[in-house]
């Protein structure tokens, strides 16, 4: 009985003193939202696809929403990784669209790497592609090796070994490019 009163007193004390378990609200980070806007504008990428209206004259069909085949919803159909790939101290964003209608029975997921070029300024660096075999989106492996000061990265493709993305300079900008044949020494 003494134990009960002790617990109750501790609970009341915590409540009145503002302690206890605080449950923070979560939201899509602003970097992700801004990077998504860049991806949407990039022609020929999955960013174009996600702008399509699949609901037509029957918006919000309950079954379609439950199955994930309603319109694209960034809160449900987007995976992201935030990392600094070029060491400039600003976040860069890997985005992958997990929206089922974009893929058919293809196992590939597509997205892009969006790099920060300044305060609230972003640039599309390359499209990325990966194979998902289950519910989990494969991770991005940032590699220790630096190419022109930019960190290369690897993502699981259809082949047994991950696809490595290297950095190239084109038109004065660094773009990432999947490595296909070159073997490293």
């Amino acid at each position: 009985m003494t134990k009960f009163w002790t617990s109750l007193a501790a609970l009341l004390l915590a409540a009145t003193s503002g302690q206890g378990e605080a449950l923070p609200w979560r939201q899509v980070p602003f970097e992700v939202g801004e990077a998504l806007a860049i991806l949407r504008r990039e022609k020929g990428t999955v960013g174009e696809t996600i702008g399509m209206d699949l609901e037509g004259s029957s918006p919000g069909a309950a079954a379609a929403e439950a199955n994930g085949t309603g319109n694209f919803d960034a809160a449900r159909h987007l995976s992201w990784v935030i990392a600094d790939v070029n060491g400039d101290g600003r976040p860069d964003v890997f985005l992958v669209v997990t929206w089922p209608p974009a893929y058919g029975t293809n196992p590939f997921l597509r997205g892009g790497l969006i790099v920060s070029t300044g305060q609230r300024r972003w640039r599309f660096a390359c499209e990325i592609e990966m194979v998902r075999t289950g519910a989990t989106t494969p991770p991005v492996h940032l590699l220790p090796r630096h190419g022109r000061g930019w960190r290369e990265f690897a993502i699981q493709g259809l082949r047994p070994r991950p696809i490595r993305y290297r950095w190239l300079q084109r038109d004065g900008q660094m773009i990432c490019d999947p490595e296909t044949w070159e073997e490293r020494p």
Binding site: T49, A64, G104, P107, E127, A135, L158, R184
Partner: protein, 292 residues
């Protein structure tokens, strides 16, 4: 004879489809990789950087000078080497056995269902020559399951898997609680295909792609094509309804074929597959599974 030990896998590698992009090529390459991996188990692993570990024969790319003087890298294959023989070591493992072959005669569950011939054609592309009419087929590389090689994304779209990978109530109502029970239930697979096709039809209709059934188009390389419900359903089954609309918009705009991209599947291969399916399924009967 040592030279012939892997002849079955080498025969697959000599097939023209092995070197082509597309579903069949992906399937063959995955099968060959799985075969070599089982026979020469390693310790061969690829680390996160893509570098192979020990016991590896790496047949690297080599430069070839083209007639115009440019250097072109010819990509070769790489594979695990046979582990060094040890005294008393067991014989090398046999070729991988096809997974989950039911002991009972397998039901021909597609027969008598809507669009039977269409189903047979899709199955021929997805799981040809697999035991149990393909119902037990698994592609471990992609997670695609069964006779129609439905991927996790397709099963999500059909309402059979949740977005977090659990089998839904709808799946359980058809006796499916895991991958094995899905592979063991031909009728459930046919129903899952119905659900996926039905959802695709909804998307094709909402994207106004179905309005164009019967229209002639000119393909990316100038070939004449006619848009049929059967062909559009087959194309959307493989590439997704939004991609089919992108393709039609691309054609309508008179744009040249998209550029080929190294290392990724890319839009060009996707568009090629759409055109191939539009042509291959054009003559097939197909009845819409859902009303307007």
């Amino acid at each position: 004879m040592a030279g012939n030990e892997d002849e079955d896998l080498r025969r697959l590698m000599r097939l023209p489809a092995y070197r082509r992009e597309g579903r069949e090529g992906d399937r063959l390459r995955a099968e060959v990789q799985a075969g070599f991996a089982a026979r020469y188990p390693g310790p061969v692993r690829y680390d996160a950087t893509g570098r192979m570990e020990t016991h590896v024969v790496a047949v690297r790319s080599y430069p070839r000078r083209e007639p115009d003087g440019g250097v072109h890298m010819v990509r070769a294959h790489d594979r695990a080497a046979r582990p060094a023989p040890r005294a008393g070591a067991p014989a090398r493992p046999a070729a991988p056995q096809p997974p989950v072959v039911p002991a009972q005669p397998v039901e021909r569950a597609w027969e008598g269902r809507a669009n039977q011939a269409w189903r047979e054609q899709v199955a021929a592309e997805e799981s040809r020559d697999r035991p149990a009419f393909g119902y037990s087929a698994i592609n471990e590389g992609t997670g695609a399951l069964g006779r129609y090689q439905l991927t996790p994304q397709a099963l999500v779209a059909g309402g059979w898997l949740s977005r977090t990978g659990e089998w839904t109530e709808h799946a359980r109502a058809h006796g499916v609680t895991d991958r094995a029970s899905f592979l063991a239930r031909p009728r459930a697979q046919e129903r899952a295909l119905d659900d996926y096709l039905s959802d695709n039809e909804r998307l094709l209709r909402n994207l106004r792609v179905l309005d164009r059934v019967g229209q002639p188009i000119t393909g990316m390389y100038g070939q004449p094509l006619t848009l049929s419900l059967s062909g559009l359903a087959a194309a959307a089954h493989r590439e997704g309804a939004p991609r089919v609309r992108e393709y039609l918009q691309h054609i309508a705009a008179g744009l040249p074929p998209p550029p080929s991209v190294e290392g990724r599947r890319g839009k060009l291969s996707s568009f090629r597959e759409i055109e191939r399916r539009l042509q291959a399924f054009a003559g097939q009967d197909y009845r819409a599974l859902r009303g307007p």
